[in-house]
Amino acid sequence: MQRPELVCPAGTPAAMRTAVEAGADAVYCGFQNATNARNFPGLNFTPDELERSIAHAHEHGTKVLLAINTFPPAGKVDLWREAIDLGARLGVDAYIVADIGVADYIARNHPDIRLHLSVQAAASSPEAINWYCREFGVKRVVLPRILTVSEIKQIASEIPCEIETFIFGNHGLMVEGRCSLTNYITGQSTNYDGVCSPAADVEYRRDEEGNLSTRLGDFTIDCFSCNETAGYPTICKGRYLTPARDKGYYAFEEPISLNLSSLLPDLMAAGVNALKIEGRQRSRAYVRNVVSSFRKAVDAIMAGQEPPLADLIALTEGQKQTEGAFKSKTWR
């Protein structure tokens, strides 16, 4: 079994240092604009911050992967090119990309820098992945969170590049890169503005009994009674009414997080080359806890020991966790 790379989120320079110190093999991050899919207020890196952070990460032998993983809308391609060229100057170890035009630009202008295919590209079959590998020399694909371990194993046997899968974090329900729900309600696009449920459009209303209703734009997307746990204020985690149900229900998914710690040995045996932790929007405390837990688990498995599975439940959405699609098709 080969040693998988632990790929960890960094929303701020402090979070990146935390991830490096907690044992990340690689960190991923983005600039403070629409070129990355976590374009959230107060998050991400200025060019200066990224330069210093790369130096620190490289001193510790940690790779820095730059997420340029949104789709430039026609007329705005230059912003993405500038981010790419800047990343090359600052010495990033790889780009994580989703858009065909973006991939082509990197393949032509920065052929020496590794290209990773983002989950936002939604390449969920060997044929799609093979096409990106053939056309742009993609070195690694980040698989959508919709595949089972046995499907991942099958894909691994049919593609020429490395595989990265998510192991912990926010459990996206829609195929990433193919969801315009946020844009439908807020006018901000996940695909080309890099936002999902932008905080500026989220409002929490609390009534006298302590019930909390969550609104996105003009729409109520959920209502929590005071003893219920909450989740991210996204449309896909909300409750709605439909004729087939007698009351509001989670039409897409409950507030729940992905936690594949118990499937780690299977994923590693399936030939997964890199394990990804979601959460660039999360705090240093989250990064420290999750990264160090998975660092220990991966090292234990490599040493042939039982992995110590720290309880990460407190960090999960709605304080609930799932293995999602990875374990069984019944999730679908």
Binding site: F71, G101, S125, W131, V175, R178, A244, F252
Partner: protein
């Protein structure tokens, strides 16, 4: 170029008889130029209508329509991979692809790029044109300001450009079937419960507002996109194809209105009045085109000034 009015693929799981009836009427009565056929949403539904496509295509062709086959949008399972491989061998008609896996199979053959393919910019458009793309249907959420640039880029490579002007917006795809979930089932034992909702399963907010429509693994807007008021602008920026996405309404009547408006027989204002008079089951929206929330209905004077 004469504007080309198109009927997109049927997104919903209509019974075979309903689809046959629909295409019979489209062939005989609807003043449209192009009809897209095929199951885009769910591979499990495909077998129900496969045996009829040849006859339907022939009937539409005889009626003077161009027939294009549309591919599945989500390719994951072995069955779906095989379906896509077979789909890419179609040579009797043009094909429209909705997933990147098709690009592997096509390898030089001509194809159309569907609205679910994430061709968001002129660079991607040029790259795909280099791979054999001859026609681009714009992603639903792409604003008009970007579509204008896409239309120019398409002209430069000799390709045509299509915009959805009517019908629910296709907002999201998932691996999970939300129709099955609503009925306490999973995708593998769904028993095709999506057949119960020929115009999508309504989702309302907890305070009772219309919100979304579920179509199996797909999530659609509740509102119907309607770009009638924007029609002159669409023409001006070089859009050549105008797509009506089938809803469970009188699509022949809808097509007649659009045809009249495209041919200049009626102005957009009258077109709008006639669409309003159909009393469709959902309100109209045009926000995406104007770079605003898709659910919005933007007044047109403001809209034109903004572009």
């Amino acid at each position: 170029m004469k504007p080309n009015l198109t009927i997109g693929p049927i997104l919903f799981h209509w019974p075979a008889e309903k689809k046959l009836e629909f295409y019979a009427r489209i062939a005989e009565e609807a003043p449209v130029d192009t009809v897209y056929l095929g199951e885009v949403v769910c591979s499990k539904r495909s077998p129900f209508f496969e045996q009829y496509y040849e006859d339907v295509a022939e009937r539409l062709t005889k009626a003077g329509k161009t027939v294009v086959f549309s591919s599945l949008a989500e390719i994951m399972l072995k069955r779906e991979r095989n379906m896509m491989a077979g789909f890419c061998e179609i040579d009797s008609h043009e094909i429209e692809i909705n997933d990147a896996s098709a690009l592997w199979h096509l390898d030089g053959h001509k194809f159309r790029v569907g609205p679910l393919m994430n061709a968001y910019n002129e660079e991607t458009l040029r790259y795909l044109a280099g791979q054999g793309a001859t026609h681009f249907a714009m992603p639903t959420e792409l604003p008009g300001s970007s579509v204008a640039i896409m239309a120019r880029a398409a002209q430069d490579v000799g390709a045509s450009c299509e915009v959805q002007v009517f019908g629910r917006a296709q907002l999201a795809l998932s691996a999970r079937c939300y129709h099955a979930r609503a009925h306490g089932r999973i995708k593998d034992n769904c028993q095709f419960v999506c057949e119960l909702d020929p115009d999508g399963m309504p989702l309302r907010t907890l305070d009772g507002n219309d919100f979304l429509a579920i179509n199996g693994i797909q999530t659609l807007s509740h509102k119907y996109i309607n770009l009638m008021a924007e029609l002159p602008q669409l023409r001006e920026i070089g859009i050549t194809h105008f797509r009506l996405v089938p809803q469970d309404v009188d699509m022949v009547a809808v097509a007649e209105i659009w045809r009249a408006a495209l041919d200049g027989v009626i102005d957009p204002e009258e077109g709008q009045q006639r669409l309003d008079a159909l009393n469709l089951p959902a309100a109209f929206a045009n926000g995406f085109w104007h770079g605003q929330a898709g659910v919005r209905k933007v007044a047109v004077e403001r809209a034109l000034a903004g572009l």
